[in-house]
Subunit: 409 residues, 2 copies
């Protein structure tokens, strides 16, 4: 195999009780590139060689139990075959192939040349920390509780109460769309005025991620309208629009605020063992390459579950120095309360957003107390205290752990 030109690789897991996986790998490498090979005349082979896919590896896991035999197959696709956009590579590597039996796309390794087309996150982990002026602890994010059908003054008050607890980031609910009660610009203005009010009280800078929605070809305009109205962050349901929409938004110099990627619809793609796209690729590597500054994904702690190993692989994909794009902030979400903070910080390390909805709003002292309880939990871990110790002198944390307990594993 001569790989003098540039190739981008894809790795698949294929389940099949009987297939000749080496033959299958060859048929993928040929079928998804030049179409046919052995019957080509020599002159044509010479010309087509640079477009021919290559089998990199075939790693068979034998089993005689029905349904358990599989192989991991890595194929190198010539960069000459596709344009420098994610749809082109995904369609090449997993377009037709996705429909060809029990096959899941588990990883990609795009070439340096392909990756160079993607500026990636404008801010990333460091940029978000710089915007907030917070460099020495995990960030805390709060999610609006109920937003549909709420008038602007209610939304503003909800924002303010969350903000007063000292959280760093507040995000819209991903199911809040353009609507007469809280249209985009008015919502941004109301929430950002609450953010300034809270900042006066807490001294804590705040980013508000307003939900970017609407028709595909209006997304850039909507983003710019939100920013013109004062938005300092955007939430985006990436999978409803495709990775390229995110990549184009992130690459636009006028979209000068961080983008948080919501995993909406991801459950249609990652959980099956036999089909779809693995979570670390879908919510980790692809989100980062496409330019998400933060990526939300189901935490291993709540009711919406992803196994912890998979969770940590998503995190790894977002943070690994092996990609040229800036690292993106991991935001494990769902089921988070202050009693989980030591565990989250243990599992994820320092670069993580502690993201809570019910854990803020359900606090007995209200959402401001909820935010404070999270900040106290973070401070406890940072200063080497146990939550129980720290709660002795911090009543919001005390109330939180009385209600939700402490989970250590």
């Amino acid at each position: 195999m001569s790989l003098s030109a540039s190739y981008s690789n894809a790795t698949y897991r294929l389940y099949d009780d009987k297939a000749d996986f080496h033959k299958k790998a060859q048929s993928i490498a040929v079928g998804l590139t030049v179409g046919s090979w052995t019957d080509l005349p020599e002159a044509a082979k010479e010309q087509m060689q640079k477009h021919l896919g290559q089998v990199v590896s075939v790693d068979v896991s034998e089993s005689s139990n029905p349904g358990e035999r599989y192989a991991d197959i890595e194929i190198a696709y010539p960069d000459a075959n596709f344009s420098r956009d994610i749809p082109a590579f995904l369609v090449t590597a997993f377009g037709k192939l996705s429909m060809d039996g029990r096959i899941k796309l588990i990883d990609i390794r795009p070439s340096a040349d392909f990756l160079s087309a993607f500026p990636g996150p404008k801010f990333g982990v460091q940029g978000i920390r710089d915007l907030l002026g917070v460099h020495d602890r995990p960030l805390v994010m709060s999610i609006f509780k109920s937003v549909i059908g709420q008038e602007l003054p209610n939304l503003r008050e909800q924002f303010l109460q969350q903000a007063l607890g000292g959280v760093d980031l507040i995000k819209d609910d991903e199911i809040l769309f353009e609507n007469p009660l809280s249209p985009l610009e008015k919502r941004v203005e109301a929430c950002m005025s609450a953010a300034r009010e809270a900042e006066q009280a807490t001294g804590q800078k705040l980013l508000y991620f307003t939900n970017l929605t609407g028709s595909t070809f209006q997304l850039k305009d909507n983003a710019k309208r939100a920013i013109a109205a004062g938005a300092n962050g955007l939430l985006f349901n990436v999978l409803a629009y495709g990775f390229d929409a995110l990549a184009e938004l992130a690459a636009d110099p006028d979209i000068s605020v961080p983008i948080a990627a919501h995993p909406s619809l991801a459950g249609a793609l990652y959980p099956s063992m036999h089909h779809g796209i693995s979570a670390p690729l879908l919510l980790g590597k692809l989100m980062r390459i496409a330019g998400a500054d933060l990526s939300l994904f189901p935490s291993p702690y709540g009711s919406v579950v992803m196994p912890k190993a998979e969770n940590l692989a998503v995190k790894e994909a977002l943070l690994t120095p092996s990609l040229p794009q800036k690292p993106a902030m991991p935001v494990p979400s769902a089921g988070i309360h202050p009693g989980l903070v030591p565990l989250i910080m243990g599992d994820f390390g320092p670069e993580v957003v502690v993201n809570a909805g019910g854990g803020v709003h359900g606090h007995p002292g209200g959402p401001a107390a909820g935010g404070r309880a999270f900040r106290q939990a973070v401070d406890a871990v940072k200063t080497g205290s146990s939550l129980v110790q720290y709660a002795e002198r911090h009543k919001e944390l005390k109330q939180a752990i009385e209600l939700w307990g402490i989970r250590t594993s």
Copy 2:
């Protein structure tokens, strides 16, 4: 349940050995709309009632075998909660929920009001037939064999040979992207000149579906460039860009040619029993609402298989008069040869595109003979002949059935 306002429904299949499915249905209806209900004060309830989701039905299929107990749950979502675009509805109905256990989105029933925002296919079945002047038989489509790495004269010759057999439609390979050898406008010009040449010879009008690719926000421009260069059809990898991109392209009055939706990446979404989106919804109803004039999907006859019942449900969704959008042409694809034509016409009825790649190019007499063999097979069925009978006086059909045989079930 009072449904005086307008609601759009979604139906899910949930697998769970123990869950209280009725309780689960309630928690979906509340959780994905107003967030919480029982703890709301009465005044708030009055205001929020119109935003509250409603459980339409819970149909439990009991089983004590592990993994086999499931329920079909239909929820009505108030149209007041989302904008009139597919991302908004999908994110509402299956955004977060997609990650909540073993749950698959199996159908949607959007309200008349929601549907009225979608003009749907510009041409549809009747419009495509009118463009071609063919009203009395299934259409025949041929797919380029190998396109990557091919110079324009080669592509033109490939196009011409396919066209000379009398096929109605020719489509690009979905993995042909913008590239120096066959850039969009030059490719369109070369292929359309071959189409005119073939039309002189056969008297048969031809539609050429050129692959619409590139960055999301350039799609409209690219489509218009292709059309300005003479393209009379577009192929689009819908799932790589999202349904809204298709909807916006289809609604643009300047994109005045039919759009064929390619099912690229669909296998990441539909085949799992427990996750994703059902094929009839994904490749049938949603494609049609979004405006595909033709929808390709894996045939039940080839190696890329979808069970026949699912296939016919895709077809039904594309053709049923119960939607306001024009019917879209079903294009079952993969593994099609002339000996399958009676079976296809039996399974799908008259409104179907017989779509072949290898079945045209692999004909012993070459692709022109391959096209003729398909047209002969169609004519045989239309005139009530058996293929064997008809092949006695039609040598291309004879060669085809000698090579591939005849399949009757």
